[in-house]
Subunit: 359 residues, 2 copies
């Protein structure tokens, strides 16, 4: 039996957690009836691993499968245009339901596609990475990138539901687990100090990809996100706290053309840069700062970077969506388990933080 | 004093009708306060005619103006990408309010841009064409075209409000008035038989661009649309009736690469093609059919076309967003003042209608 958690209200939607891939078909049949058209959007790697299981469950439905190369660069308007063409070739219409099978890239891309194709059709997300399971599949944010910035064009568009099968973590490379772990540390810093204790305690099991431990950490981690986004679906208030580390991280990713650095690596460095600012402002103790740096190190996430220009990175932060009236809005940790958004960071203060992590 | 009409509910928004351009600034000041950033998106022709009046009213606000070439081809993902770049250069952020100043192309493009830029910012529509005033500015449908079909990628995204200054009709070319008149006839056929009487009676005044008559017709015409979309904002039910003539019209426009034929011309031909099907099914009398053809002729809207292949047009109709499970959904007039959607039109029946208007 899988567990369900509701995200949001009016009407909100459910996360089905620990829900086997092959049981989706029976659930769809119960929910939507036997007719209908399902359009699976995935990448070739995930398709190789999981399409068969999924399609077996969907064999009584009209189903098409489209693969998109596995790359952050595919989160583009050009790919949306191509998907439109492919979807029409599969005779997709307003009744079609998109199934996003994959990680954050697939979820963002297929979700955004569903949000605008024929002015919006339904979609379901099956997150197959740790990052997507604990973070990007929750909260309805979908988007593509633009040369001028990450996730610049998108929507708030909730899926019908999220179907999370944690056994997909078995085949996930360590670097992908790390991407999620960076967000787990962020969730701990923003809202659950005990989650940090747990990660510290279970570091070895995590590195051994112990499924029971990973699932336990995933459940605690996603609970932080569900709580925050349910109270603030449109990011008017405290949802902005979930951007902790991301203003810095996105700038690093953009600086590297979204290729040289993973999202988790960017977030890791960003968490630390934000923590330095908090430390300098007296919001974090030296011990807390060291503890954050230490757990990132133990998870083999980067805590410093080379050959970056802090002033270039500063300029890249100017395009951040959180900024207001020309002021950079940053999220800063306040001790362990709390965070706050500030708009009064001077550029000099930010450069000092960048310099701390650039060696 | 201008008049206001509410569109939709929860929360809905207002049409300000007969609202002078130069008074917008005072209204914005009252509504949103003095701070904020306004990003006007318009085309060079409308900018030449009306930007000065508008900017005079906005002189106490931070305001930028972006022009887009005046062409249906600009309703594209490529233009959305370019607008994104330009908006960022104007330091647009989540608090920016887009002002769409123009006709249907600008409203659709700027509205869709606002719906996805940074996952959605606010916008205001100032419709400057007859078509936009009575039709496209009402109901929150925004979109861009795709090589595979018109308005294939878009959203339902309501403006903050619509600010309609009917005096902009003074400078509007006759062909643009005609674009709106085709929709007026459609509105009459779908929901207001008296509107057809009025247009028939006032044909000469209309052709002389008598502002009082045009405004009167505009008010009655937009009332049909407001009533229908307020009851069905997401096009789940009767809103589909507003597509009368458009399945045929869009196919003609696509066949001509959105260049050879205006939207109004497409709709005129589409209304007649749909009317032929109704006549053949006994839903329209010979007299009613003749009356429709006659008023279109009097308004100098086309009632036949040359060098089109009915089978090519039929194929183009297959991509229509209304279609369900592979069946073409068509809207047919039922007498004057009523319409119905049907999904049982055989291709042969449609080809017969096409042949009636192809000479």
């Amino acid at each position: 039996m899988h567990q369900t958690i509701k995200v949001g209200k009016d009407p909100g939607y459910f996360l089905h957690l620990g829900a086997p891939l092959k049981e989706l078909g029976a659930f769809l049949d119960k929910t939507y009836g036997a007719s209908g058209h399902y359009l699976i959007i995935t990448n070739p790697i995930v398709a190789d691993l999981y399409a068969e299981q999924l399609l077996e469950g969907l064999k009584y439905f009209r189903t098409d499968l489209i693969t998109v190369p596995d790359s952050e660069e595919e989160k583009s308007l050009a790919r949306i245009s191509k998907l439109t063409e492919q979807a029409l070739r599969c005779r997709a219409d307003r009744a079609t339901i998109v199934i996003a099978l994959g990680g954050g890239v697939i979820g963002d891309l297929a979700g955004f596609f569903a949000s605008i194709f024929m002015r919006g059709i339904r979609y379901i997300h099956i997150p197959t990475t740790f990052l997507a399971q604990i973070d990007s599949s929750i909260g309805g944010k979908v988007a593509v990138n633009h040369p001028a910035g990450k996730n610049l064009l998108g929507s708030f568009y909730s899926p019908q539901f999220v179907w999370t099968d944690f056994t997909t973590l078995e085949t996930l490379p360590w670097v992908e687990i790390q991407n999620g772990l960076a967000e787990t540390i962020k969730h701990a810093l923003v809202g659950d100090p005990e989650l940090l204790d747990l990660v510290e305690e279970k570091v070895d099991a995590i590195k051994n990809k112990d499924l029971v431990v990973l699932q336990n950490i995933a459940m605690k981690s996603l609970a932080v996100k569900v709580k925050i986004v349910s109270e603030d679906e449109r990011e008017k208030n405290q949802r902005v706290l979930l951007n902790l580390g991301h203003s810095f991280g996105h700038a690093l990713e953009a600086d590297q053309g979204f290729r040289g650095i993973t999202h988790g690596q960017g977030v890791s460095l960003g968490l630390l840069a934000a923590s330095y600012i908090s430390y300098n402002r007296g919001l974090l103790s030296a011990g807390e700062l060291a503890r954050i740096e230490n757990i990132l190190n133990k998870l083999e996430l980067p805590t410093w970077v080379t050959s970056c220009d802090p002033y270039v990175l500063l300029e890249l932060m100017a395009g951040d969506k959180k900024n207001k009236a020309g002021n950079k809005v940053l999220v800063l940790p306040v001790g362990i388990g709390k965070a706050m958004a500030v708009a009064d960071c001077e550029d000099g203060e930010i450069v000092v933080a960048w310099k701390k992590i650039i060696k």
